[in-house]
Amino acid sequence: MNHSLRVLMLSWEFPPRIVGGIAPHVYNLSRDLVRRGIETHVVTCDFPGAPGYEEIDGVYVHRVDSYRSPSPDFATWVYLMNVNMEMESAAIIRRLDGQIGLIHAHDWLVANSAIGLKHIFRVPLVATIHSTEIGRRNGLHTDYERMIHQTEARLTNEAWKVICCSQYMTSHARWAYGLPEDKVMTIPNGVDVSAFGGEFDREKLRSTYASSDEKIVLFVGRLVHEKGVQVLIGAMPKVLARVNAKFVIVGNGYMKDSLIGQVHTMGLAHKAYFTGFLDDQALRLLYRCADVCVVPSLYEPFGITALEAMAAGVPLVVSDTGGLSEIVEHDRTGVKVFPNSSDSLAWGIARVLLDPGYADRIRANAYDEVLKEYSWGRIGERMGVLYQSVYDEYQGGSWKPA
């Protein structure tokens, strides 16, 4: 490993600015890269109260003016924000005497900065594609969506290597952008297992969510169609016919009101608890109170909630789709059910809740699996190897300026 390797990481979100999954991903990845001797600079958008520059666990974090003036739409704002991000990044690299090993971009949101910097400094670019416009929209219907899709495609085109978080996303990205097989690498997302440890009064916290004779069935995610929360609501009567349970549903989304209306109509309002948004710490403790965690997604590029449940030691029931299919091995680390089937989901939940021996076995196997395959140390190690191989190829090539 070359200990002088220096990486500039571009991400539009980084704690405390958290919009979605990219912020925790970049945060954990950066910290692990620093632990293995890779100097890591993160350039990200500003956030009220957060300093313009700081060092977090050895990671150099630079926050740039994210362009707060009015702009015509989100994509145009992204392009304008990139003007500032690239300008500041160019100054940062200049202050490092232009000595930078590679640039790592996360999603199209930083594509323009990353591509411009690549060519100005002639350093290799690697790009992680967390999700795709064509996947998010289930097709491309307007010039707005096509522009974002083409920007993503261009980022993958300009990148030396493209990283996806699951086999499913790798094959999807290859299809969406027409990428050769050897250009895309699968490096999974990770979970910080240690964050799920520590002492707490389980019975006391549990009693705030459910009565002692109720099993807790936990759902965590945005309350949108693709996450399949409506399938879980549909499964409620079938589960309750066999076992007394409380369905705790964490998250917000456009379906929330209609879901609440639905459980009222079913006469099961007392069996469903919509908590809304929970902060990280409250959520981690809630996982540890649950008797089963359910991920019934219809579309799931990766499925980070499944990893969180595994890290918290909760038995897992997932729909057999996307990244979830790869994370869970049926009957060994969890239960797989048919996507979009309330009957199948109810069967899976009841199976875990009615057989404590089985639940214990899959929970223990899942925890071992998380430690082995999805710890940030393992992911940082694989990323470090990828960086080094890209850097070595670059050093051996003729594109590098004299």
């Binding site: 362009y67 003036s69 009015p70 702009s71 015509p72 739409d73 994509a75 145009t76 392009y79 304008l80 990139n82 003007v83 690239e86 300008m87 160019a90 100054a91 690299i93 200049r94 232009g98 323009n112 591509i115 411009g116 910097l117 060519h119 100005i120 400094f121 002639r122 010039d143 707005y144 096509r146 522009m147 899709h149 083409q150 920007t151 261009r154 300026p401 004299a402």
Partner: protein
């Protein structure tokens, strides 16, 4: 002297008056033994072309075909302008003296090249967004003005074609009037005055660089 001129229109692409003006400028500079590179846009006729007049044109196209407005179109184009400009820079063994950016379109590229290479740039103003949009104040106009402001504040010097425009740049973007040079294209000494403004910027930049190297603090 080696100069990179950035312009979104250059013959055979003619949108307004700027195209012919920049062509005349490039030809005159080349005849004065300035190594003149023009980085510009063309839909299909891309690549490098050296004319009999000695002007070296680098034409780039837009890699993103679907666009929602002029800003996204221009900003995705800027990364290609940067690729072409950096190509000139590295091929010339980093010996480029100046970037001359005409109007707002490629200001982001000029600023990035400056931040990266300490390459000084001149913002040459033909027209301003306030006059083109009649001060509409729409988000799109404000965003373009923000880029013009970047050009006015980050450039080493602003060059206008009239005293009136000098006052307008100074008024709208709060640029000290002494930072702005007026060079009338109709003056007989026009190209000499342009060259003089180039030389002054290049000299001032090398002086300030020498100073910062002597005193790294």
């Amino acid at each position: 002297m080696r100069v990179i001129i950035l312009t979104w229109e250059f013959p055979p692409r003619v949108v307004g008056e700027l195209s012919r003006y920049v062509n005349r400028l490039a030809v005159e500079l080349a005849s004065k033994k300035v190594d003149t590179h023009v980085v510009t846009y063309h839909d299909s006729w891309t690549g490098y072309h050296e004319g009999a007049d000695g002007v070296k044109a680098h034409r780039i196209s837009n890699p993103i075909k679907a666009q929602v407005n002029i800003l996204t179109w221009v900003l995705s184009l800027n990364t290609e302008v940067e690729r072409a400009s950096a190509g000139i820079y590295y091929l010339a063994k980093r010996e480029v003296d100046l970037v001359d950016a005409h109007d707002w379109h490629f200001i982001p590229a000029a600023v990035d090249l400056k931040k990266a290479f300490h390459l000084p740039f001149i913002f040459s103003v033909d027209s301003l967004e306030d006059h083109r949009s009649h001060g509409s104040g729409a988000p799109l106009s404000l965003s373009i003005k923000r880029i013009e402001w970047l050009g006015a504040s980050e450039s080493e010097r602003v060059v206008t074609k009239s005293e009136w425009m000098r006052q307008e740049v100074s008024r709208i973007y709060e640029v000290p009037p002494e930072k702005i040079t007026v060079v009338s294209p109709r003056a007989s000494s026009w190209i000499d005055e342009i060259l003089e403004s180039y030389r002054k910027v290049i000299e001032a930049t090398s002086e300030s660089l020498a100073q910062s190297e002597a005193d790294p603090s």
